[in-house]
Symmetry: C2
Subunit: 345 residues, 2 copies
DNA sequence: ATGAAAGCGCTAACAT
DNA sequence: ATGTTAGCGCTTTCAT
């Protein structure tokens, strides 16, 4: 059992208090605490002791104010419930730490209004750069933000906006990989469960339609979304055939989370995966390995790392031209995809 | 295509600049911007216009410094990869917003060292309160932190530490519910895949052992962890029988993520769930509904909400006695649990 | 090696 | 209703 602390939380000691106790000036304390070499060993020892005894804790708001630097970057995540974003964030954290920056993490939870508010908060906190891990803002919004602070966007390619860099996979190519995989397995009736009305979903949908056309196949897009439940509903709809419209033999889903939902729907419909119907997701989140679901994978942590690296570069050199980094997308074949059922009914 | 901004990022305008442009004093601008009633309509209009034209953005570090308040709380999350924590966080966010606080979100990603550093950062940023959504700190660490700032702990009951409140489910009861569920289905050989060496895992393990004893059954604990891969390994070990040690007919797993891994292991071993073996998770995260896995559920968002509410209360009344809130735990029966295979071999 | 003084951008107490 | 003034806690010249 730890000692029960009962004194009231007193006003925190300041540099002034430490200085008084160590019998030196404020300036010297400041230097000593930041390991300046021009402090004598004796003073340093006295100062460190005094700080320790008082439980001194530097005040970042004060130091940020005078330094005109916060040493922090803001990170906006679209939706913390999607593990994909946590994986991207790992890379961001790693790179930010490496560069000596701390991160201010916020989320709009997929609500555009909240998203803007949270970003405003970051700007008021004077972050030195901003990383948007997926977002719902318009190009104008982004341009306005980037006019205030260097910005890097992950999961979407940004072009022609000053001071904005971006990192993304190739969504069209990715969908092509997915379609090719299924066609190679023998599928011809492949439906796409879309991710809803946003840019990424549109790109993936377009990629799907193109790839189907390239194989001379008829596309079929079922409106869906990026969550398990939306995937569930869309998959349910896709697989419940009407008599004049036989169900597809494969579902290419807009993202991994929705693919999990799709799998659930097949189970509830009593369909075997991949025996009756194949399912392919998109993003490559870790969890899908355990779930044995085929997916079009992106190097998530690496995307975050690259975005943070680009941002740091830009903070140092504000007017470098915008760059976009395209990362490799690859198909990871697992147990949720296989040949179509042999007797087509 | 948005207008391409090319001017360099100039020094941000301050209150002083706005005041000069509007032809009034700094103080009046400050008042106007914060909707004080003692500003004339004319001045207010002029000030708002000037601020707009200059693209004025208040500086929170400055305002925090002078107000001696940050209007923010710190939130530490053990592991952003576990969707359980995102659900708890929803509740925290909701309550914090309601009380007019913003949140500073950090994660140690299950690394004790990083965890301490991140919390230190929060303290230096002068958060007015701290919420720990699972943690690996000692009671002494917590006591030291709480001596600086009001603290609320989620998922673990804290007792006897001044200025620390907590919200948790009843892990022993929860495990009892899990065991009872399986026993009622007819299971007698129920193994527990533990969550590793931490307090929560220990409590859940103890609860399991007690519940088994209450039914006169032999407990069997397999060391595991809180991740999918650890669940996978532990389940694999549990279900691969040696000849003198028949495999259990049910696995009661330390948390949901590990239960997903356990399910994967059964699939890879060619075992049917629940035909050959039943699986029950713990936490009640949303995703498990789609995956149709039985789990011992806690009201996650509500736990976060209550923790934030307690924290706000304590910020207002520092010396209120510590309180612990216990939330209801319930079994959600789904498709991963059923009767044991009839011919026991 | 150390200290005095100025000031970061803002708010608040006080004056008018 | 508006302006003046004095800091908040810190870093950073500039002296000594």
């Amino acid at each position: 059992m730890p000692p029960t602390v009962t004194e009231p939380i007193r006003k925190r000691p300041t540099l002034h208090d430490v200085a008084a106790r160590a019998g030196v000036s404020k300036s010297l304390v400041s230097l000593a605490l930041r390991d300046s070499p021009k402090v004598s060993a004796a003073s340093r020892a006295a100062i460190l002791a005094a700080a320790e005894e008082l439980g001194y804790r530097p005040n970042r708001t004060a130091s940020s104010l005078v330094q005109q630097r916060t040493h922090s970057i803001g990170v906006h995540i679209l939706d913390l419930h999607n593990p994909v974003f946590a994986e991207i964030l790992d890379g961001v954290h790693e790179a930010a730490r490496r560069h000596g920056y701390s991160t201010l993490l916020v989320t709009g939870n997929a609500d555009r209004q909240t998203e803007k508010q949270e970003i405003t908060r970051l700007l008021e906190s004077r972050v030195e750069g901003l990383i948007l891990i997926a977002h719902r803002l318009s190009d104008d919004d982004i341009a306005a933000i980037a006019a205030e602070v260097p910005t890097a966007v992950v999961t979407w390619q940004m072009d022609g906006i000053a001071r904005v860099d971006s990192v993304s996979g190739d969504d069209r190519l990715g969908m092509r990989l997915g379609v090719d995989h299924l066609v190679t397995l023998g599928h011809r009736s492949i439906a796409h469960l879309s991710g809803g009305e946003n840019r990424i979903s549109h790109a993936r949908r377009d990629g799907y339609v193109e790839a189907m056309a390239a194989h001379g196949l008829e596309p079929r897009v079922i409106p869906g979304g990026f969550t398990e439940s939306q995937g569930y509903r869309a998959a349910h709809e896709a697989a419940s055939s009407s008599q004049d419209d036989p169900p597809p033999t494969a579902l290419l889903v807009a993202n991994d989370l929705a693919a999990i939902g799709a799998l659930a729907a097949m189970r509830d419909l009593g369909l075997d995966v991949p025996g009756d119907i194949s399912i392919v997701g998109y993003d490559g989140m870790r969890l899908l390995e355990a779930l044995d679901i085929t997916t079009v994978a992106q190097p998530l942590a690496d995307m975050g790392r690259q975005a943070a690296d680009l941002l740091m570069e830009r903070i140092d050199r504000l007017d470098r031209p915008s760059v976009h980094r395209r990362v490799a997308t690859e198909l990871r074949s697992r147990g949720s995809s296989g040949p179509p059922p042999s007797p087509r009914r």
